[in-house]
Chain length 215, copies 2
């Protein structure tokens, strides 16, 4: 049996300014062969966009339902943005981590900073555009929203791109597959970090397990 | 022109108990396609083993020459082991790092801890065997040395394998190519670390460079 030096999965938080391409990178990550990733589906009160599927892209719930869950502390993080709630259900994340899965969450900056407080051992990746112009172009082209909403998103991106320093890693979205590859490298490296692997290594040297590093 | 978020190369210190396979892993790293690695050739006073080439495997120098260089502070680290000196010439390492090359050094534990003091920004990787028995078997099979030397090496390995906690990463040498792959992932991840990349990212957002992340 293979034994990892770090058996517990990692919580990987992918965040960055609106419009930077977080969702596309997340999808590219999940297309990687032999991955052990598990996507934490967020919950939201916003209406589904065309093609979005309940339970796959988001859990779509009512405002009342969302607020009931906030009161019951069922979220790892949640945020209100452009009048709608978005949140990460906590129980599912914990279960998958203990099963040794890497749980990938893709969230707004506001939510990521809440996760930092609750789970400092998570890995925080800030996705950045190759230039500010690229970001603005993407926000303008997203034709699904009204001008007012686009302006709000630009204002928010403007504030958010300064928050990179609060993250562990900065990954440029120059190309979606390059960016996903870099995140995969980060996950492998984090598993090999001494603070995560020394416990199992010590057991290995005492002959209590047969060791093979998965990552 | 491509611009890295971290332009300076990394000093990667590969270390671990004697007999763990550091040299084989280093060679596998250098066989990787499109690598930007540069090997820092160590200097030693020990006699060349069969097939070893001066200036490739080591710079072989006399004891007098080595001690003169110690006095002139020309080493990033040096150590005496089984009656022979081993050291890393400093000037070459600095030059290659500023050219943006990743400098890989493969050294004994004693030397690695000296580098930690002089260059704390380096990346420290501790190679470990999949079990203690594997390590002993390797040390016994290395037929180039006398029994007395093998015993000394085993004693040393016994003390050294407890020092993993002083390193940034622990990599199991279960398979040489797996181990090299993990080190490559560590190098990519380290370049994306916020503390190494935020300076260039800030410039990127101010429109001073066109950004593309190499790693």
């Amino acid at each position: 049996m293979d034994v990892k030096l770090n058996e517990r999965g990692l919580l990987v938080v992918i965040s960055g300014p609106s419009g930077v391409g977080k969702g596309t990178i997340r999808k590219a990550l999940f297309e990687m062969p032999d991955n052990n990733f598990c996507y934490s589906v967020s919950m939201t009160t916003r209406k589904p966009r065309e093609g979005e599927v309940d339970g796959v892209d988001y859990f779509f719930v009512s405002r009342e339902e969302f607020e009931r869950r906030i009161k019951q502390k069922q979220f790892l993080e949640y945020a209100e943005f452009v009048g709608e709630y978005y949140g990460t259900p906590l129980e599912y994340v914990e279960k998958k981590l203990s099963e040794g899965k890497e749980v990938i969450i893709e969230i707004e900056v506001q939510g990521a900073l809440q996760v930092r407080e609750k789970m400092p051992e998570a890995v925080f990746v800030f996705i950045v555009p190759p230039s500010k112009q690229v970001l603005y172009d993407r926000l303008m082209k997203r034709g699904t929203e009204q001008t007012k909403d686009i302006e709000k998103r630009i204002d928010k991106a403007e504030r958010e791109y300064h928050l990179a320093y609060k993250y562990d890693y900065i990954v440029v979205n120059d190309d979606v597959y390059n960016a996903a590859d870099r995140i995969y490298a980060i996950i492998r490296a984090e598993h090999a970090k001494t603070e995560r692997s020394i416990h199992m290594y010590t057991k290995l040297m005492e002959g209590k397990v047969n060791g093979k590093q998965k990552h």
